[in-house]
Amino acid sequence: MFQSPTVRTSFIFLAIALVGLLFADIAITASNPWRDLGNFFFGVVTPNFFSNEGLMTALLRTVSFAFVGVALGSISGFLLALVYRWLPVRILCAFVRAIHELFWALIFLQFFGFHPLTGVLAIAIPYAGIFAKVYSEILEEADPEPGRLLPPRTGVISAFLYTKIPDCWVQLRTYTAYRLECGLRSSAILGFVGLPTLGFYLESAFSQGHYSDAGAMLILFYVLIATMPLWVKPKLLPVYILGAPFFLGEGLPIVWSNVGRFFTQDIVPSPLRGEEGWAGMGAWLGDMFVNQAMPGIWNTVILTQVALVATGIIALLAFPLISTHFGGPVRRTSGHVFLVIMRSTPEYILAYILLQLWGPSMLPAVVALALHNGGIIGHLIGRQSSSIRLRSDAPSGLSRYTYELVPRVYRSFLAFLFYRWEIIMRETAILGILGIYTLGFYVDSAIQNIQFDRAMMLILITASLNIGVDVLGRFIRRKLALQTMPTC
C-alpha cells in the first residue's frame, strides 16, 4: 500500500499534522463549556425572530453587499480574464486574491472608515482576482475550431461573442452563481469588523448572551442560502444588481484627507517617516520579524496543517452520509441537511461561536475549519461516489466503504483537499482576529496600536505565504496527476 504515491503523500501529511499537534495549543479553557454549548443549542432550537428589528436590516445589508461586491468583482474579473495571458496581470490577480476579504476590509476601514465602499471593495477586489483566474481557465477551454473557421476579416469582438461566450456560457453562469453564494458568506462575516451585516448582529447577540437571537440569525442565513435557486433567477438579476447599491446603508462619510494620509504617511515604515531613514530599516524589520512575523507564521502553518488533515478525516467520514451506496432515503436526507449546514456556515462564524463556548485556543479554529471544509469536500465526493456503479455482488457495510468506494474516490478527494489547502491557510491567518495567535492576530494588534506600517507589512507576508502554499499545492497535484474543479 505504501508503494502508492497518493498513500505515501497522505501519510507524510498525517505525520506532519501529528507533530504539529505536539506544538499546537489545544485546550478547552472555558469554565463550563458544555453548559454554554447546551445554552447555544437551546438558542438555536428556540429561535427568536422578532426581538430585534435590526435582524431584517442586517439580512438586507448582507445580501446587498454580496450582490454589489460580487457583481463588481465579476465584471472586473471578466475584463482581467481577457488579458490574463499578460504576466503582470496574473501576478496582480494572484496577489489580490491571496489577501482575505477581512484583511481588505481592515485596510479600507483605516481610510474610508465605515462607508459602504469599504465593504463593497473588500469583496470586489479579492473576488476580481479569483474570477479573473477561473474565467480565463473556462474561456481557454472553449472549442477553438469555430474561431478558426470564421472569415478572416471578422472583428475581434464579434468573434469572441459568437465563438467563445456561447460555448462557455453555462460554465461561466454556474461558477458566478456559486461565487454569489460565497459572496453571501463573505458579506456576513464582514460584520465582525463592524460593517452592518449579519456578523455584526451575531457578535452583539452573543456578547449579550442572547442565544435565541443568534439562533434566529443563523437559521435565516441557512434559509437564505438554501433557497438561492428560488430567488436568484436570471430575469431578476438586473433588478437585484441595480437595486442593491441603494440598500447598503449610509455609513459614515469618507474623510478624503484620511485617504491621503494613509498612503503618504501611515503605511510608510516608521524609520523612513522619522529621522532614522533607511539606516533604521534593518532594526525595524528585524524587530517585526522576530516579535510578530515569525510567531505568526509558525502558528499559522501549524494550525493549517492540523486543520488540513482534520478536514480530510471529516470529509472521509462524512461522504457516506449522502452516498447512495449506504443507508436509506431518510438517512441520506438528514446527511444532506447536515452537510449543507456545515458548508454554509462560514468557518469564521463557526470559529467565533466555538471560541465563545470553549475559550481561546487553537481547538475551536481546527474544529471550525475541519467542519466547514470537510463538509464541502464530503459533499463533493459523496456526490461523486453516488455515480459509481458497483457490481451487484459487491460487499456491503464497512468492506464496501474500504474496498469499493474509498479507493475509487481517493484521488479526487486528495485533489479537492490540496486545492483547499491555500483556502484553509488564508482562513487560518484571518482567524487570528478572533484571538488565536496566527498572522491575523498580529495584523489586528498592529492596527489596534495604530502601527499601520507593520500591519501592511504583515498582510504582505501573509499574502506571500498563501501564494507559496498555492504554488506548492499545485505542484503536488501535478506530481500526483490530480485534477479538480475550483471550489471556494
Partner: protein, 216 residues
C-alpha cells in the same frame, strides 16, 4: 480568384512528415475530389490549403466546428460575421434582423431543415449538424469551397442533393471523399493521395471506379 496555385506544401506530425512536399493548382471551374485511404493525409492537406489561401474559402471541416450552444441560425450567420460591424453582430446575437433570417431560412430549406432554424445545434442529429456546417459554408459564399467528407453522415438522396448544391454554388471546390462513386459523379478532376503524396491526378471522365481502387 476562385482557384489557387500552391507549391511546397508540407506538414509534419510529431517530427514525422505526413504530407508532401507537393504542389497543387486548382483553376476556376474545377471540382476536385481528393481520394485515398483514411490516414493518407487528405484532412491535413485540406487544412494546409485553408491556411495557404489565408482562410479565403468556405470550409466544411470533418469536425464541423459548430458552436453547440448557439441555434442553427447563428451558426450559419457566422459565415458572414466579417460583412457587418460589431454592433450589428451583437444585436443579431440577441435579435436577428429579418433579412438575415430570410436568407438563412432559404438556405436551410434547400437543405431540407428550415424548421430547425432556432434549435441549438447541440440537440441535432449527426446528419443535421453536418448540414448546418454546409449551410454556413454556403452562406459564407467564398468563391472556393474546401469540404472534408461533407456527406459522411447523410443518407442517399440527401447526399446527392447536397453535392449538387455545392457543385452549383462554388466556382471551384476541393472535396475529400471516401465515396468513389460520388467523386466520379460530382467532380471533374480526381486527385489520389497516397502516403502524403499525389499518386493520381486525372480528369474524372477518363477514370472509372476500379482505377481509383488501386489507391486503397
Amino acid at each position: 480568384m476562385a482557384g489557387f496555385d500552391l507549391s511546397g506544401l508540407t506538414a509534419s506530425f510529431g517530427g514525422e512528415r505526413v504530407i508532401g512536399p507537393l504542389s497543387l493548382k486548382v483553376k476556376e471551374g474545377e471540382q476536385v475530389a481528393l481520394v485515398g485511404k483514411s490516414g493518407a493525409g487528405k484532412s491535413t492537406l485540406m487544412r494546409l490549403i485553408h491556411q495557404h489561401v489565408n482562410r479565403n474559402s468556405s470550409l466544411v471541416p470533418q469536425e464541423l466546428g459548430l458552436v453547440n450552444a448557439l441555434p442553427v441560425f447563428h451558426n450559419v450567420f457566422m459565415g458572414r460575421l466579417d460583412q457587418h460591424g460589431n454592433w450589428y453582430n451583437t444585436v443579431t446575437l440577441m435579435r436577428p434582423f429579418s433579412r438575415d433570417k430570410d436568407k438563412v431560412r432559404e438556405l436551410l430549406k434547400a437543405l431540407g431543415m428550415a424548421e430547425k432554424l432556432w434549435i441549438p445545434t447541440a440537440s441535432l442529429s449527426g446528419g443535421q449538424r453536418q448540414r448546418v456546417a454546409i449551410a454556413r459554408a454556403l452562406y459564407r459564399s467564398a468563391p472556393l469551397l474546401l469540404a472534408d467528407e461533407p456527406i459522411s453522415a447523410l443518407d442517399g438522396p440527401m447526399a446527392h442533393q447536397v453535392m449538387q448544391l455545392l457543385k452549383d454554388r462554388f466556382s471551384a471546390s476541393v472535396f475529400a471523399l471516401h465515396d468513389v462513386e460520388m467523386a466520379l459523379a460530382y467532380c471533374n478532376r480526381i486527385v489520389g493521395i497516397q502516403d502524403g503524396q499525389i499518386a493520381l491526378d486525372e480528369p474524372a471522365e477518363r477514370l472509372v471506379a476500379s482505377d481509383i481502387m488501386s489507391l486503397y
